[in-house]
Symmetry: C2
Subunit: 291 residues, 2 copies
């Protein structure tokens, strides 16, 4: 289905887009950003490392140890480096042979929006805030399928931080707008309730004690979630001390999986850009779409 000149991939997780697929990804994120700006979201951007200490505050390592990916380096002492270099030279093959690794105090971001709550730690908000971020994310996956299930992928999110009533209005409008966009792009999509797969629900303190646990709805095209709508209630507000006038802030977000939208368009309409259903895609030309 996919033109190999536009998709570059390797089962270890290497993924690249060029030509019309790169332009499609850019045009789709342009549409997502249009929605974000119509929500009056402020644009922020974060590098994809999150402090271990902050993820502990939300019990991340207890709830999702099977998802998390850490950046590690060889311990910076000469003997270890020599051993590592000897064991992994040009003549070797197979996975890397690691010896002692350095201390790990940051984690590769599993989603784009965590950085937003971390940056707001301790804030008191008089009025609700909306923020959009596009981030590179990392998750440990058991299988690899380019554009669909990648160990590294890109996500555009729009976050709302405020009180209970405005969070509900935000999520209702988000779901309406994203469903409309999918429909305008000719995608056959449906909303489905989802639960994130907890590693060990019975042992997760947050899972056991929270009566108002975060909920997630997904927009699904042929079995693949291309967007999600997440009501965190006061989970991040309490963990990070973010307050609204009514107490710990409520937060919510909606997220677009950028490569998954590319996949949905191509799976639905084929590889010919002239068949893609937005006027901005017609007569696609790389230079004009490069931004």
């Amino acid at each position: 289905m996919l033109n190999e000149r536009s998709l570059h991939s390797d089962e270890c997780g290497f993924v690249g887009l060029s030509g019309s697929l790169q332009a499609l990804a850019g045009a789709l994120d342009g549409a997502f950003l249009d929605i974000a700006l119509s929500f009056d979201a402020e644009v922020q951007e974060f590098l994809p490392l999150l402090p271990v200490d902050d993820l502990r505050k939300i019990d991340y390592f207890t709830s999702f140890p099977h998802v998390v990916t850490f950046p590690v380096s060889v311990e910076n002492e000469s003997a270890d480096l020599h051993e590592f270099a000897r064991a992994n030279g040009a003549g070797c093959d197979g996975p890397l042979r690691l010896n002692r690794v350095g201390a790990v105090s940051a984690v590769l971001a599993p989603a784009a929006c965590y950085a937003v709550y971390i940056a707001l730690k301790g804030a008191s908000l008089e009025t609700p805030r909306r923020i959009t971020v596009k981030g590179t994310c990392f998750r440990s996956e058991k299988s690899f399928e380019p554009l669909v299930r990648q160990p590294s992928f890109r996500m555009r999110e729009i976050v709302h931080i405020g009180g209970r009533p405005d969070v509900e209005v935000f999520l209702e409008e988000a779901s309406r707008r994203v469903t409309l966009l999918a429909s305008a792009l000719g995608l056959t999509a449906k909303l489905e309730k989802a639960t994130d797969p907890f590693f060990d629900p019975e042992r997760s303190p947050k899972y056991r004690h929270a009566k108002l646990f975060p909920t997630k709805t997904e927009l699904v095209v042929e079995g693949v979630a291309i967007a999600s709508f997440n009501d965190h209630r006061n989970f991040f507000g309490e963990a990070f001390g973010i307050n609204s006038p009514a107490g710990p802030a409520n937060t919510a977000c909606f997220a677009f999986g950028i490569e998954r939208w590319v996949h949905a368009i191509v799976a639905t309409h084929g590889m010919n850009p002239a068949e893609w259903p937005l006027s901005r895609f017609a007569g696609l030309d790389q230079t004009s779409c490069a931004r």
Copy 2:
């Protein structure tokens, strides 16, 4: 110097930009992309994972073991996951406690351009090609300074793949254009010869045997390299079997460190966007600069 409402950072490597600094980063990359397009470069984009097997072909683990960062996960067997979750729950502090980690067959990209050569493996090019990529990169660093020395940072590169004469023309024009841009932005910058710090030059086979080893020139502002110009000669062409009509391709690239340009502008002109020296920055307004 930096307004804390626009820069979010933590010594473990967490870095985010909002407000005027985010808009500045976007406008700067817009200027870099303008240069790329004036070089007729094709736009490509890659997720930041590179296959271990491909980095072995360029002796990366022998030459730069001190720089490389790997994404690792806990081995996906229940006993290991339970042990990891127990050792890193909400009550713990300090760096993560890791037990057995899974096999590592990809590395976090240390530069944006490697992916371009990997995607061109085995290609025979009739005419030179130019490609631009903006990538998130990762390097193990001994210290942390936001915008200047980060374990994760963004880089825009413009790559040329061709023969010896056209590579030389490309690098000459690149250095002229980037120096002009720095000057137009009011930066006091100078070109300096650089050598990448090899881990153990005497033991590196490529270092010992190559008479025509890759060379690097940097554009430096107050001791910080904000751009580099790299002549790889036939290093990547030979390693990845990329051929030009005259034999293994010659390659070259020039690279912009996006956060370092943000730092140079702010260090030179201060935090007030009205003082930033391009008309596109004057009267900066987030919505209009969001793209």
